[in-house]
Symmetry: C2
DNA sequence: TTTAAATTGTAACAAATGTTACAATTTATT
DNA sequence: AATAAATTGTAACATTTGTTACAATTTAAA
């Protein structure tokens, strides 16, 4: 277990000795679970820190009529619902169930809080995790706020050009996959890509995109 | 200043004496700013905790072509960019400028970290703030993921019914305001509302909405 | 009360995207 | 090389939303 924990985002930078000392002073349990087991309901109080050690979990969003919507999977050594342990409404945002057999480390909230106070490094790690979630969600919102498919393509390409600094963007995803990522239908995406090609904005090949008219691409996001 | 801080989310629950002791041990500055002053650029390293004491700030999202998009305002005694002080990319997500004269408390990140380690209460407060942001954004994403106006209306009403438990939902916002909240045009919203009325789902009055067919409303979110 | 302002209802038309179905092409597999 | 599978191109049509403009109605202000 310790080896897994030492490589987890929460305990990164902690020495084996420190980890040992910490776990002798802090109440904790290891909970084993079986494939298919329901681990938490939506709206249930979180109340404890959970860190997946082995196996795979799955979180299901459920809409008002009871249908399952999006499914998110979780692998070791990630924390479960890290951003929902604290905050005004400390409740599970998803149904949590086990996809395989496995086990997780469980620390009650008050013990977890004590641990954060004890070890500054773990505290910063945890704050990094939660901040990272917030930042990821913030970026996702920016993307979701884009309304047209053209805007999404433009934003996607601009983001990738920032890294490479190049007008040649590598694409390691199919149009089918990209349409899924964008939340639009595949024919609509293809149609829009072809339209942008006709307008001389870009050239879309199987594994890369050439941006031929950067100004026009920016204008799409301008308005 | 202490009075403002004692009522801030970050120092809530701290006694005046504790606060005093804390500030004697922790490096901090008060920075005054003038109306119109630019306080931070997008992409700039955050590096310090900032808590607005007086005045009003404004954060501007800026798109790739340099136009200002959404504007968010900030009032005392809120923290500035609380969820961006830690995390993998600790950079400002917006342009930050002053809308009025004012002042803010500034604590360098390493001193801020030391303070969190020192005072468990402040640490928990800060984690609550960041977690709250993440949770707020998470809810916003759920809403932004809804595609049709009908879905947005249905979600909006279901959320409000959860509180009141009643099929009569108070509406303290005009359709114009609601269309803005939904990110759709007003005529489109009105048209959709009237359509839902024709379908017998609801009755929309100036200050309240009666849900007449809950099942149909749920089905809209079902699929 | 009268006037002005804001809000809501309505309509014709344009633009964007979804739906469905199938063909063409490319890539992977045997 | 031949076949199967996946991906991409294409098209006709439906649906949803935006755009614009103006009328009707309600609320606020003079």
């Amino acid at each position: 277990m310790y080896q897994i924990l030492l490589n987890s985002p929460l305990f990164r930078g902690i020495s084996p000795e420190e980890l040992n000392g910490l776990f002798q002073r802090i109440n904790h349990q290891v909970r084993r679970f079986r494939s298919g087991e329901m681990l938490a309901q939506v709206g249930e109080d979180v109340g404890k820190a959970m860190l997946l050690l082995e196996g795979r979990l799955q979180g299901e969003m459920v809409d008002f009529s009871g249908n399952s919507l999006k499914i998110e999977e979780l692998d070791p050594p990630q924390m479960v619902a890290a951003a929902f342990l604290y905050g005004p409404k400390s409740i599970f945002p998803v149904y949590l169930s086990a996809k395989t057999d496995g086990e997780m480390l469980v620390i009650q909230k008050k013990d977890f809080t004590a641990m954060l106070s004890m070890e500054s490094r773990v505290m910063v790690n945890y704050i990094n995790i939660v901040s990272g979630k917030a930042q990821f969600l913030s970026g996702k919102i920016t993307f979701l706020s884009l309304k047209t498919i053209k805007e999404k393509i433009a934003y996607y390409l601009m983001q990738r050009m920032k890294f490479s600094g190049n007008k040649m963007v590598a694409i390691e995803i199919t149009q089918t996959g990209l349409s899924d990522l964008f939340g639009v239908t595949r024919p609509s995406l293809t149609r829009t890509i072809l339209e942008m090609e006709k307008q001389g904005i870009l050239t879309w090949s199987r594994d890369h995109v050439a941006v031929n008219d950067l100004k026009k691409l920016q204008q799409i996001l301008g308005k």
